[in-house]
């Protein structure tokens, strides 16, 4: 359909390559059609057979991120199992063809090239980390395959002009604090904070967050009374906390990475400073959080979540209970993300009614898919336009308070009880 435009974009060398690829694919179709019916990898768009649809992927199952890739793989496995139990895709069963790239970019590239070029898988799904997805996405694009990735939210990926890439997490960093800003905007006038202090760990994510929040909150009329950045491995926060206390802010925004957020709270406690509102990025989801700051002191603290097992999105509760039954542990964020990637791809295929990659991509670009991380839609570059969840500790539990369709409670604590 838009092959002509693509050829123009590709330039002379690219055009030659595209012609070669076209010839190769054409040959493959002919060979595939001539091949015997026992040849499982032969589909290449032939949508009529009863053979299983093969979905290829390469995951970092060994190597440094193996511990996170394992639940990611399990998310995919669980998705396929559930899909097949419900009749599969286009009335056909689905099977996964999984290779291991050991968290190596070059292996990942050759794996996907092999899966698409040699094994002729019908569809592909994405791998883990921005690093690997950044390397693999151009391969899928070159072979004109839809590429739904469960991770890889770095800005760089969405600046490459990919046309068939879709990010299966709810939002990139740009949209991370949106629900929090909305909560403040909608707060009753007498409970809305007037002043804000930023205490930010030095990290690309958190510093970008501070910039975004500063702009948004100043637009809402909040005055910035203090702003400090600290090295991510700092551990003595008494003096830092004292400077925040001196500025007397109503709201403290702490772009924290890990233990730094806990040490900051402990220093606030020692100083007897308890802000009315506290928003922290990554620390409150740390399993040791409540123990380390005192279990009674979590009440009212706000944070964001990319995924919550409690979020009331359709299908989420079933996913959580089914996954736990299958693997004996609740799903991690990575497991949820790969399950979501599967949901997105399946929705596109069913809506397109075929394995035509162009039709799948076109439908995904112009529609919204209901997933366990909420309704997802994408801009032209494949960046998702969903919502990160806003969560708050209430009675010792992280409750989702926004967006409304995911909320697990209607209650919002605007003024945190003092420590």
């Amino acid at each position: 359909m838009n092959a002509g435009r693509q050829l123009r974009v590709l330039g002379k060398n690219g055009r030659r390559r595209a012609v070669a690829i076209g010839l190769t694919v054409g040959m493959a179709v002919i060979v595939g059609a001539c091949g015997s019916s026992s040849d499982t990898g032969s589909a290449a768009g032939a949508g009529t057979s009863d053979e299983p649809i093969v979905i290829g992927m390469s995951l970092p199952l060994t190597g440094p991120v193996a511990d996170r890739a394992k639940p990611g793989y399990e998310g995919y496995q669980y998705w396929v199992k559930e899909l097949n139990a419900n009749g599969g895709m286009l009335g056909r069963q689905v099977e996964l063809k999984v290779l291991d790239d050991g968290f190596d970019q070059r292996t990942a590239i050759s794996d996907y090239t092999k899966l698409i070029g040699q094994d002729k898988v019908d569809l592909v799904l994405g791998t883990f980390s921005s690093d690997l997805n950044l390397a693999v996405a151009p391969i899928a694009e070159r072979y004109n395959y839809v590429y739904v990735e469960p991770s890889g939210g770095a800005d760089e990926i969405f600046e490459r002009g990919f046309t068939k890439l879709f990010f299966a997490q709810p939002a990139t960093t740009k949209k991370l604090p949106e629900q929090f800003v909305k909560m403040i905007e909608e707060a009753p006038e007498d409970q809305r904070p007037k002043t804000v202090a930023y205490v930010t760990a030095e990290d690309p994510n958190t510093t970008q967050l501070e910039e975004i929040l500063k702009a948004d909150l100043e637009a809402l009329g909040l005055e910035t009374v203090h702003s400090a950045t600290y090295a991510a491995d700092a551990s003595n926060f008494d003096a830092i906390a004292n400077a925040v206390k001196a500025a007397e802010p109503d709201l403290v925004v702490n772009g924290s990475i890990a233990q730094d957020g806990i040490q900051l709270i402990r220093s606030f406690q020692k100083l007897g400073f308890s802000p009315d509102m506290l928003y922290q990025t990554n620390t409150p989801t740390d399993p040791a959080f409540a123990e380390a700051i005192g279990p009674d002191n979590t009440e009212g603290i706000l944070t964001y979540l990319a995924y919550s097992a409690e979020a009331a999105y359709p299908g989420n509760a079933e996913f959580v209970s089914g996954y736990e039954k299958e693997f004996g542990a609740p799903p991690s964020e990575d497991a949820a993300n790969s399950y979501t990637a599967g949901q997105v791809l399946a929705a596109g295929v069913e809506a397109a009614g075929s394995l035509d990659q162009d039709a799948i991509a076109e439908w995904l670009h112009s529609n919204t898919v209901d997933t366990i991380v909420g309704p997802l839609s994408w801009d032209a570059a494949g960046a998702s336009q969903g919502d990160m969840l806003l969560a708050q500790f209430q009675d010792g539990v992280l409750e989702v308070i926004g967006p409304p369709d995911a909320a697990t409670t209607q209650k919002i604590i605007y003024k945190k009880p003092a420590w």
């Binding site: 003595n236 806990i262 040791a288 123990e291």
Partner: protein
């Protein structure tokens, strides 16, 4: 004025904690010329022991430090007998490598046994303070600071007021000479090393109350300890206390009056300045090559 006083209080208290952590290290270096890089790992081990007992019995963690010190004395004695003494006979400088290897192995074993989750002991006073007018004095830090002074004083008294201490100092000056006058060098050395390690018992207990820790936290602490003793002068107790205070106050001042993102650079900046102006450390005696243990 309040800000300055408050900043000084934070700095001195943090310095007190640093001095506590560094006391055993500087003792072992001062008399044995052994740079014990496993000191950080021993602190973390003590912190885990403290946390474990506190979690099950709710006994005050700083009091537990006394009991843990006894355990750490035993650990130190074993470490000396099985590792340090043996490699020291081959080449005294090998103790640097051997103790670092022990630290890495210890962190691995701790991770296997206790897991890699961050821990922290939180007795009732962990996040409370004494209030003096407008000034705030965090309680746990104050206790740790007092403990540090007591331990440094105790070690000084031990070295200068007891037969064991005199024997040890004799060994440090001349091993052969000490043997000639009838001192059991091997026994004195193992005692000294074990006492140095015993100080990590209280240090680890304070660490468990003041900070979160994971098995790998020892890298951070051995880095700070080295900084403290290099600043103050290797092997000098008063130097360790002074170096720790300089570091603590430097960090607090940086956060209060300059920019908090420079805090982690403070130790290195101080070391560079000290190495240029006074290479032996603030209170350190000049070391000549070949001095100390043969």
């Amino acid at each position: 004025m309040t800000l300055l006083l408050q900043t000084l209080i934070f700095g001195v208290l943090t310095g007190g904690v640093y001095a506590l952590m560094a006391s055993g290290f500087t003792l072992i270096f001062g008399v044995m010329r052994v740079i014990n890089l496993s000191h950080g790992a021993l602190l973390i081990l003590a912190a885990y022991l403290t946390w474990w007992v506190w979690d099950r019995t709710a006994i005050d963690p700083l009091l537990l430090g006394t009991g843990v010190s006894v355990v750490m004395y035993g650990v130190g004695w074993l470490l000396y007998k099985t590792v340090i003494a043996r490699v020291q006979r081959i080449d005294p400088e090998l103790t640097l490598v051997a103790s670092f290897a022990f630290a890495i192995a210890a962190a691995g074993v701790i991770a296997l046994v206790a897991g890699t989750e961050a821990r922290a002991a939180t007795p009732s006073y962990f996040n409370t303070s004494f209030h003096v007018g407008e000034l705030v004095v965090p309680r746990a830090q104050l206790y740790a600071c007092v403990g540090a002074l007591a331990i440094l004083g105790g070690l000084y008294a031990l070295l200068h007021g007891t037969a064991l201490g005199r024997g040890i100092r004799a060994c440090a000056t001349s091993r052969t000479g000490a043997e000639l006058v009838g001192i059991d060098v091997e026994r004195s050395m193992s005692q000294m090393f074990a006492i140095g390690c015993a100080t990590t018992g209280f240090g680890g207990a304070a660490l468990a109350v003041l900070y979160q820790f994971v098995p790998d936290s020892h890298y951070v602490w051995i880095g700070r300890i080295l900084c403290v003793v290099v600043l103050g002068g290797l092997g000098s107790f008063a130097g360790a206390a002074l170096g720790a205070a300089v570091l603590g106050i430097g960090e607090a001042m940086t956060a209060a009056y300059w920019d908090s993102r420079w805090i982690t650079a403070v130790p290195y900046m101080l070391i560079i300045v000290i190495l240029i102006l006074r290479p032996q450390g603030i209170l350190g005696a000049r070391l000549r090559a070949g001095s100390g243990a043969p």
